[in-house]
């Protein structure tokens, strides 16, 4: 039952949604409205309940077993409870907004801006012209890096347009090839899930 019910649901609803897309009958549209606008949005709220449960279980387990960095789990749980209470209890979410604007936003922006330092260090150590492909990549990257900033047009007025050409033609050709491959892969995987051939999402491994 635990295995067959999800398989049956995926099979029935998968095909129903495919056929529904091609049937313009009012009944089909009504089904779509109820299913998409009401059911699925309600169901998706339960994702949060699952993720909260998973978050709390993971961190309490880490604290209980005194795993490395267990103190950070205390910070995570306290922050989680504090933000949740701040959003629910305070008038118009004042404290929540202040925490978002003056703690969460600067912290996250700082973490992301550290990338600039690591990218610079990594580029210096790893970006080497070891063979023809690496050299081509190096030249293209250098041109794009120059053309995407204001100083590029100082060096040569046509540089921004040349960079736009690189992005619009060689880059786009490669991107389109990747996308077609990914698209076909998605269709194949979706069909395998609907038909019950791909079952790893159920857990267990077979």
């Amino acid at each position: 039952m635990r295995r067959n019910l999800p398989l049956a649901l995926a099979f029935i609803l998968g095909f129903v949604m495919i056929f529904q897309y091609f049937i313009p009958h009012p009944l089909s549209q009504k089904f779509y409205d109820i299913f998409i606008q009401q059911w699925l949005i309600i169901i998706s709220i339960f994702f949060y309940i699952l993720s909260w449960r998973s978050f709390v279980l993971y961190h309490t387990n880490k604290i209980r077993r005194k795993k490395e960095g267990w103190w950070a789990s205390i910070v995570a749980i306290v922050s989680f409870l504090f933000m949740a209470l701040a959003g629910i209890i305070t008038k118009k979410g004042y404290i929540f907004n202040q925490m978002y604007n003056y703690v969460y936003a600067p912290l996250q922006a700082t973490m992301f801006s550290l990338l600039a330092f690591f990218v610079a260090s990594a580029a210096f150590r790893a970006f080497r012209a070891r063979n023809l492909e690496a050299t081509l990549l190096l030249i293209a990257a250098t041109i794009v890096m120059l053309g995407r900033v204001s100083v590029g047009s100082y060096i040569w007025k046509g540089l921004p347009d040349f960079v736009e050409w690189i992005l619009e033609y060689p880059n786009m050709a490669a991107q389109r090839g990747i996308r077609i491959g990914v698209g076909l892969g998605m269709i194949a995987t979706s069909l395998k899930i609907i038909l019950g051939i791909e079952r790893t999402y159920l857990g267990g491994g077979d």
Partner: protein, 282 residues
């Protein structure tokens, strides 16, 4: 020779220090390098501009969190300023995930003081968070008020004058998704392909390259790529005489220019050192 060997073994903290200096100095003393506009940015600007007087609204979606704020928040502010100045109705939607709503609020806080005549509910509406991601995009194709019920401030959407004119994509001139993730594709799949609503995109510089196929097919009306895209949009609204506030992206371009020059310099230096020391070993 020893010099190049030393270069290859340089402590990375020296690189960090120089990057820090190269970023901070142009931010404190901006040079004001000129920003040339590119076709994807002009295309989006012109499309928004032509919505003036048509009664169609712009839906601006802040699908980003503070990690990509330096690149995407100036875009949100510039587009809001453009719409507010031209009296184009705006649906400001705080994004497909809950952490993004604060970014929309920040953009409003930065732009509203320059437009004191605007009336909430008539000129713009702020939509908050509803779970469902792609389902929300699909739901809005049927009814915006049916999907959200209330706005960010808790007002019933049915009671707001703008929502009486615009309750689904039929009266939305364009959805502009500002995102550092793959959400613009979700908007294309569920918004453009299913309901035909036009999509514009603002994205981080690192993600811009992947969207060129959609730009070429017309699935995206236009695109703002990274800080430069934001700076270009700022220049376009400045040229149109719209109040720009602090030109954050344009100022940031000076710092980015110097960092890119430094990066190119150390890449070239690293390669010279690598080739010379390699020859010596052979």
């Amino acid at each position: 020779m020893r010099f190049f060997e030393k270069i290859l073994k340089i402590d990375r903290r020296w690189i960090f220090l120089i990057v820090g200096i190269v970023v901070i100095i142009p931010l404190i003393f901006p040079i004001g390098m000129p920003v040339l506009t590119t076709p994807p940015v002009r295309s989006l600007y012109n499309y928004v501009d032509k919505l003036q007087g048509t009664g169609k609204a712009v839906m601006l979606v802040t699908d980003f969190d503070p990690s990509t704020m330096p690149e995407l928040l100036p875009m949100a502010c510039a587009i809001l300023r453009h719409c507010f100045a031209k009296k184009i109705p705006v649906y400001l939607y705080g994004g497909l995930y809950s952490a993004y709503v604060g970014m929309a609020e920040m953009a409003l806080e930065k732009t509203l003081p320059d437009f004191p005549d605007l009336q909430y509910g008539k000129d713009y509406i702020f939509l908050g968070y509803v779970p469902g991601v792609s389902l929300v995009i699909l739901g809005m194709g049927g009814s915006i008020s049916g999907t959200f019920n209330t706005d960010y401030y808790g007002n019933k959407l049915d009671t707001l004058p703008l929502n009486k004119m615009v309750d689904n994509y039929k009266n939305i001139g364009i959805v502009i998704d500002l995102s550092g993730s793959a959400s613009p594709e979700t908007w294309v799949i569920y918004g453009y392909q299913r309901f035909g609503v036009r999509i514009g995109v603002g994205t981080t510089a690192v993600s811009a390259a992947q969207y060129y196929p959609m730009l070429q097919t017309g699935q995206f009306v236009g695109m703002l790529g990274g800080l430069k895209g934001a700076a270009e949009y700022e220049q376009l609204i400045k040229k149109a005489g719209i109040p720009t506030g602090r030109l954050e992206a344009t100022i940031g371009m000076d710092a980015q220019s110097f960092v890119h020059i430094f990066l190119i310099f150390i890449i070239i230096l690293g390669n010279i050192a690598f080739l010379i020391t390699k020859k010596r070993k052979v």
